[in-house]
């Protein structure tokens, strides 16, 4: 399903893609069968700032739920990103090596982080938030004045 939920705070508009699930920290997960594509939400990328470097665990790395799967270094902060599911990293977005700003430009599309082979997706996905629930998280965080550049 295409489309976005949106919330505007001051001059900023944050989009939440409808076709995936979210960890509260802002990492999304979209099922592609047994393979789950993961990336950053629009709110997380905007509130983190321009991304200078993105480093993702290499293909073959086993990850547990919540374990660090990637780090991003932005102009403002260094962010450790926990995996929204358990499994094994199958593929890392090759574009991030030379153009990490792709995450800022297209967080739900070309700026994906990795594809993970899930070990127990039916269980892990129950821990994640629906787009509607994550939108409420974004509203709360944006309302609390999480800084955006």
């Amino acid at each position: 399903m295409q489309g976005f939920l949106e919330v505007s705070v001051d001059k900023f508009t944050f989009k939440v893609a409808r076709d995936r699930l979210y960890a509260e920290e802002g990492v999304w997960a979209r099922s592609e069968g047994e393979r789950i594509r993961v990336g950053l939400s629009d709110f997380l990328q905007q509130s983190s700032g321009d991304i200078a470097f993105a480093e993702v665990k290499p293909a073959g790395t086993p990850v547990r739920l919540g374990e660090e799967i990637a780090t991003i270094e932005t102009v403002k902060v260094n962010v450790s990103l926990g995996s929204p599911l358990a499994g094994r990293v199958m593929e890392v977005n090759p574009a991030l090596q030379s153009a990490p700003e792709t995450i800022n430009k297209d967080p739900y599309g070309d700026g994906w982080l990795a594809i993970i082979e899930a070990s127990d997706w039916p269980v892990d996905q129950r821990r994640l938030l629906t787009p509607e629930a994550y939108l409420e998280v974004v509203k709360r965080l944006a309302g609390e004045g999480v800084e955006v550049p």
């Binding site: 321009d50 200078a52 470097f53 102009v75 990490p100 700003e101 800022n104 550049p149």
Partner: protein, 150 residues
């Protein structure tokens, strides 16, 4: 009759309160005051935004190097909107990506790494300025210089 030699205008961004904006201005100071004082002219973005006639004329009559601290690229946009010709657009973040050990921190005062990053950018500007002004005689039309590099 002698004419003034054309200068390259250096336009840093006005990202007050942000380290990368501070790096852009520090780089502009080093380039215009230390490395290429005779070939450059510092243009404050704020005056350009306010429409100051002398500032707009400087941008319109000379080629520019812009330095932007973030993706909004205010200095580049403003020079273009003012009818200026940009010889080189520099994004501080792009230069930082090539020098990961030079992470800028601090606002009122940059950390040593930020100052080094500013110098790296300033040296790149100086090289660009040397290229732009090499062999250019005193000229009533300084934009001739940039046509070779466009």
């Amino acid at each position: 009759m002698s004419r003034a030699k054309p200068k390259v205008v250096i336009v840093p961004c006005s990202g007050i309160g942000k380290p990368y904006g501070t790096v852009s201005r520090e780089a502009a100071y080093i380039a215009t005051e230390e490395l290429s004082p005779d070939k450059t002219q510092l243009v404050p973005l704020s005056l350009l935004v306010l429409g100051d006639s002398q500032t707009r004329a400087a941008v319109a009559q000379n080629v520019a190097v812009t330095i932007d601290g973030c993706k909004l690229a205010c200095s580049t946009k403003m020079v273009k909107e003012s009818g200026g010709t940009i010889a080189k657009e520099i994004a501080v973040l792009d230069v930082f990506r090539q020098h990961r050990d030079l992470k800028p921190l601090g606002i009122a005062e940059l950390n040593p790494e930020g100052l080094k990053l500013a110098r790296v950018i300033a040296e790149e500007i100086a090289r660009q300025v040397d290229d732009l002004t090499a062999g250019v005689p005193d000229s009533p039309n300084p934009r001739k210089a940039v046509r070779k590099h466009a």
